[in-house]
Symmetry: C2
Subunit: 253 residues, 2 copies
DNA sequence: CGGCGGTTTGAACACGCTCAAGGTGGGTGG
DNA sequence: CCACCCACCTTGAGCGTGTTCAAACCGCCG
């Protein structure tokens, strides 16, 4: 089941299933474009380049586990999930990440976390201490990091509302809306969505079971709000109606 | 019901129910001790002192509402809750804050948030933009802020596990353990807890109803894990047993 | 084309919710 | 200072949403 450990922030290229043949400089450049402020000093740039570690992971593989060194990970390509483990084999997906996202897993808490690849991934990893140490002397970078962490916090809080106070229907509808915003591609009057995660991942993200996810998707399909093809392609026909079903803001009592 | 709006980051002292007669310098000093790095430049100190606004709020009062200027709030005294609002009057408590906490409500998301006082509070508030602008040139401060935001994120994620994958019993037990860590005072072989929030607040925090909270507390009391006196005093007799019931980590399948 | 894992669908069950009726603490006013 | 009173809390009974268990289906990869 667990796609097995694969590339745990290794030193160099490790291709397992022929991801696009990108090189470290290319990946690092993606990181630079996405994360670094333009004002960054050359010295800092070089230091980052030196401390960055290139890693790749196959779909299903573990990227970071509880017990690993604390790392800051940049997703250059692919998609990942951050999973928390509770007793009894229960799992909770705490966040999904896509291209351009920066991940910091600071697990001060009673649970253990694992970062997993949903698809084949290309990653750049930095030892968190070094990275933040450098950032400390580069306010522009630190500020960018703060901004991204605040976004993570905001997403996490939105998810709290979902898990605490929403029905299954609202959760699934809201999930599709959020995914559409993050990785959807617009189509005439709608949005095309290729979901990199399984029903189980969705269930573990929304605090439901795969059966419930499936039933709700069926219901949304029969209501004409979405159309599905294959296991992971969803065409959102009516985003406004979906948002309404997600029960975001006060409407009717 | 809602204790009504009271002191929305006002300019000066506003005593409503005789909180301890602290002065702005005293409150600011508390902020300095709790948040500022020792390395902070005098100029930055003075700037902060100039931009800080003193505010007080009575129990139940609203401190920040959706639509207010984005603020960074320091809790010098008292306790607060950050509440998110969903449709149908449903509420989700996203976080509790106590003395020494620094709150940043950046609501990028589909829901609206309100910061409320649980008890009479003494607060120091800064316009977020100015505060972060200053922090940008003071890496020590920015770093402290980042650290606190990371703690918030970590707490939020722990809460996600709770809301997504735990039973009522585990939620209540976990809640008590967390509160014990944050505001408990050790007693022979146990811990004394004075809860500043109502059953409704707990319910809205744990994604349950007040009835369920009450039933679970009764169950824990009858199991001899806790003893209660009055509405808000809890004596935790056996923390280890409580932690076990919170189902933190893998134990038995 | 064949088989396996993931998904869908169905039926029965359970946990926590809803609705309703007492209790009780603690704050207020006499 | 004590009694009153109201909001908050507790307890109970029945219900509903989502779970659990089980079986059929199907998309995807060999």
């Amino acid at each position: 089941m667990t796609g097995k450990f694969c590339a745990c922030i290794a030193q160099s290229m490790q291709y397992h299933r022929a991801p696009a043949t990108t090189t470290f400089p290319e990946l690092f450049e993606l990181f630079v474009q996405a994360v670094l402020p333009q004002s960054l000093a050359d010295a800092a740039y070089l230091q980052l380049q030196a401390m960055g570690r290139y890693a790749s992971a196959v779909a299903g593989g573990v990227i970071l586990e509880d017990g690993d060194q604390h790392q800051v990970v940049f997703v250059a390509q692919g998609a990942t999930k951050l999973v928390a483990h509770a007793s009894g084999g229960r799992e909770q997906v705490v966040a999904f990440h896509f291209e351009g996202d920066l991940i910091s897993v600071s697990s001060r808490g009673a649970h253990s976390y694992t970062l997993c690849a949903l698809q084949d991934c290309e990653l750049v990893a930095f030892p968190a201490e070094d990275f933040l140490g450098l950032a400390r002397s580069e306010p522009g970078l630190l500020n960018e990091v703060l901004d991204r962490v605040l976004t993570s916090l905001s997403r996490s809080r939105e998810k709290l509302i979902t898990l605490g106070r929403k029905t299954a229907q609202e959760r699934v509808a809201g999930f599709l809306v959020t995914m559409a915003e993050r990785i959807g591609t617009p189509r005439e009057g709608g949005c095309l969505l290729h979901l990199p995660m399984s029903r189980r991942d969705m269930a573990d993200s929304l605090g439901l079971t795969i059966e419930t996810i499936s039933r709700q998707l069926t219901e949304l399909r029969e209501a004409g709000l979405i159309a599905t093809s294959g296991r992971s392609d969803v065409h959102i026909c009516d985003i406004a109606a979906l948002e309404a079903r997600a029960g975001q803001l006060a409407a009717a009592a």
